[in-house]
């Protein structure tokens, strides 16, 4: 399989002075192939969020390179990074993913609007994405009219609809009970298997990490284990 994503010797330090310098990531090397379903695990503070932020260009690494299909994103300007995220990355956060003043449909459609997709195609793709995540008929609801699990599904649909190369999810199930968390993960797994969507997500949940096809363990800013399961 094709290598779509690479981190080369990526380090990230936080803090301006030597005394309070935090080494959140220490020379991390990582390759993600198309179609993978990868979980990043590790104790709190091990650098999971930092790694995902650097992969998405939300943060710049202190050292090292981040390549998407061979292009170094650390060289990009602000607008290029915005466009990079818009066109290549799907995002799912732990909670509060959605704009409360927009309906589920509008939240999903937003990505297509900033991508400049014409209206009729947008409507069609939003409709399809809602079916994909099992929310047919709930498009007109506002986020506060949906359950936490449903909201996360809308977030996955939004991440999906723009046809990204990879979907990054930072603890997507952390705010859900185990039943709903399991259901969300099953749905992501199904998308991975049927549509070939590449996922990288972080988690604390042992049940969920067991479903991952690849499991990367971070400790103290370093990858200490990387296994296919």
């Amino acid at each position: 399989m094709e290598n779509i994503f690479e981190c080369k010797k990526v380090s990230k330090n936080f803090g301006a002075t030597k005394q309070v310098l935090v080494h959140a990531l220490k020379s991390v090397d990582l390759e993600i192939k198309r179609g993978e379903f990868t979980a990043i695990i590790g104790p709190s503070g091990s650098g999971k969020t930092t790694l995902l932020n650097i992969m998405s260009g939300l943060d710049n690494p202190t050292h090292g390179k981040v390549l998407l299909k061979g292009n170094d994103i650390t060289e990009m300007t602000g607008n290029q990074l915005s466009d990079y995220r818009r066109d290549h990355i799907g995002f799912v956060f732990q909670a509060y993913n959605l704009l409360p003043v927009l309906t589920a449909e509008e939240n999903i459609e937003y990505i297509l609007i900033i991508q400049g997709i014409p209206e009729n195609e947008r409507k069609e793709r939003v409709h399809k994405a809602l079916i994909e995540v099992g929310l047919k008929g709930l498009g007109k609801k506002f986020p506060n009219q949906l359950s936490g699990g449903q909201q996360q599904r809308v977030a996955v649909a939004r991440a999906l609809v723009g046809n990204p190369d990879i979907i990054l999810a930072d603890e997507p199930t952390a705010n859900l009970d185990s039943v709903n968390g399991q259901a969300l993960l099953d749905m992501m797994l199904k998308l991975n298997e049927t549509l070939g969507v590449t996922f990288v997500f972080s988690t604390h949940d042992p049940l969920i990490m067991n479903e991952a096809k690849r499991l990367i363990t971070l400790h103290d800013g370093k990858i200490i284990e990387d296994k296919i399961q």
């Binding site: 939300l58 607008n79 995002f91 509060y96 993913n97 704009l99 409360p100 927009l102 509008e106 459609e109």
Partner: protein, 408 residues
């Protein structure tokens, strides 16, 4: 820009309805104060100008250039007959009044006073000024009244005279020589409400004044009243060109009453101060509201940036929000203005004859609405709100999205 972005901004405004309501109420009150103050000052100004020009001055006057400065009767207008003809045929004038003016001593059995004596043509004068209206005791002068005089109420009190009583006028003729002295009977007593007029003025027929001055056709002053008040500055220019010579020199009411003019300019300055003051108030309110509204949604903006929204688009979304807020405030302000301003325009405010810049405010001052107030001020408010919201937005956009997303 897509509709959904506008929707986003507008729905965000209505997210916290109470805060939006209170903010637009505050801004709306600011707008209302501005419009009402402006309308009120407009009403006051036009009242004062009207009162000064219509009471006696006219919109402009022609003199010998040195007459007003020196107060010497020898500086008469050259060739007054010719000028009178030109003025008579001028359709831009509603009226004019030729006057001969001299200082004089007026004496009754009870005392004497120094006054300014004005010879007028009663009919001409009644079109130009309001002496006739203000003559509330006795009667106004007639064309053929040889030995009748009109004096002010306070002067009459000082001289202890009444209608029909005799007074003696004494003045020195233009050519020098013996003083002229004549006997007059009081025909009317006027009250202008202004102490200058009521203490120190008296009117007789023009021909009689000319006789006493020993100068048959002498005129010191033509007071002019124009038809088209909205066009005064243009007419002023025209008349300045028409009567440019020292011997017949045209001046506007502004030049004749510099004190009033600067008092009116002072009201413009206080209006500007008020505008600045309200702008600061509105500015602080907008900044405060936006700060609260934006910072509590920091995470949302982080999400928007994380999923690929360019800063420019984010900026547009937020600015739409502040424009929507400004428009809401304008609607609020306009409603308030119509209610409270309408009341002031209808009832007016009565100053009960207080004098401002030596103009007696006899009638209530009414607020004057103008289209300008409902265009310039609201537009200014929108522009100002947009401008002022740059600051909190800029502060917000400075935060990196990875920081905004850090809540958990």
């Amino acid at each position: 820009m897509n509709l959904i972005l506008i929707k986003l901004g507008i729905r965000n405004v209505f997210r916290n309805k109470r805060r939006t309501f209170l903010t637009s109420l505050a801004i709306g009150i600011g707008l209302m104060s501005l419009i009402i103050a402006d309308g009120f000052i407009l009403g006051m100004k036009s009242y004062m100008i009207r009162s000064v020009t219509d009471d006696y001055l006219g919109h402009g006057q022609i003199h010998h250039k040195k007459f007003l400065k020196t107060n010497k009767v020898k500086y008469v207008i050259e060739n007054p007959g010719k000028i009178e003809k030109r003025l008579s045929s001028d359709t831009k004038l509603e009226g004019f009044s030729p006057r001969a003016i001299s200082s004089a001593l007026i004496a009754s059995a009870q005392g004497s006073e120094q006054i300014s004596l004005v010879g007028i043509k009663p009919r001409y004068e009644s079109i130009l000024s309001r002496i006739k209206t203000f003559t509330t005791v006795g009667d106004y002068l007639e064309k053929n009244d040889k030995s009748y005089i009109l004096i002010g109420k306070k002067l009459a009190n000082k001289l202890k005279v009444d209608i029909g009583d005799k007074v003696v006028l004494t003045l020195s003729p233009i050519g020098g020589g013996d003083l002229s002295q004549e006997l007059f009977r009081i025909k009317g007593i006027f009250s202008y409400g202004s102490s200058t007029f009521d203490n120190h003025m008296a009117f007789i027929n023009l021909s009689r004044a000319q006789e006493m001055l020993g100068c048959q056709n002498c005129i010191h002053e033509f007071a002019l009243k124009f038809n088209d008040l909205s066009n005064l500055p243009v007419l002023f220019e025209e008349y300045k060109k028409k009567f440019p010579k020292d011997a017949y020199y045209f001046e506007t009411w502004k030049e004749l009453m510099p004190a009033l003019n600067s008092a009116l300019e002072l009201t413009d300055i206080s209006m500007a101060f008020l505008a600045v003051f309200l702008a600061i108030l509105v500015g602080a309110t907008v900044i405060n509201t936006l700060y609260m509204a934006l910072y509590e949604r920091k995470f949302e903006f982080g999400v928007l940036q994380a999923i690929g929204t360019r800063k420019k688009v984010l900026f547009t979304i937020i600015i739409t929000e502040s424009i929507a807020l400004a428009i809401g405030s304008i609607i609020m302000g306009s409603i308030l203005t119509f209610i409270f301003g309408g009341m002031l325009a209808y009832y007016g405010v009565d100053y009960g004859g207080v004098t401002y810049a030596s103009v007696p405010l006899r009638e209530p001052i009414y607020m004057v609405f103008s289209l300008k107030q409902f265009i310039i001020y609201p537009l200014g408010l929108i522009l100002f709100t947009i401008l002022i919201s740059f600051y909190p937005i800029w502060q917000l956009l400075k935060i990196s999205p990875s920081k905004s997303l850090k809540i958990m």
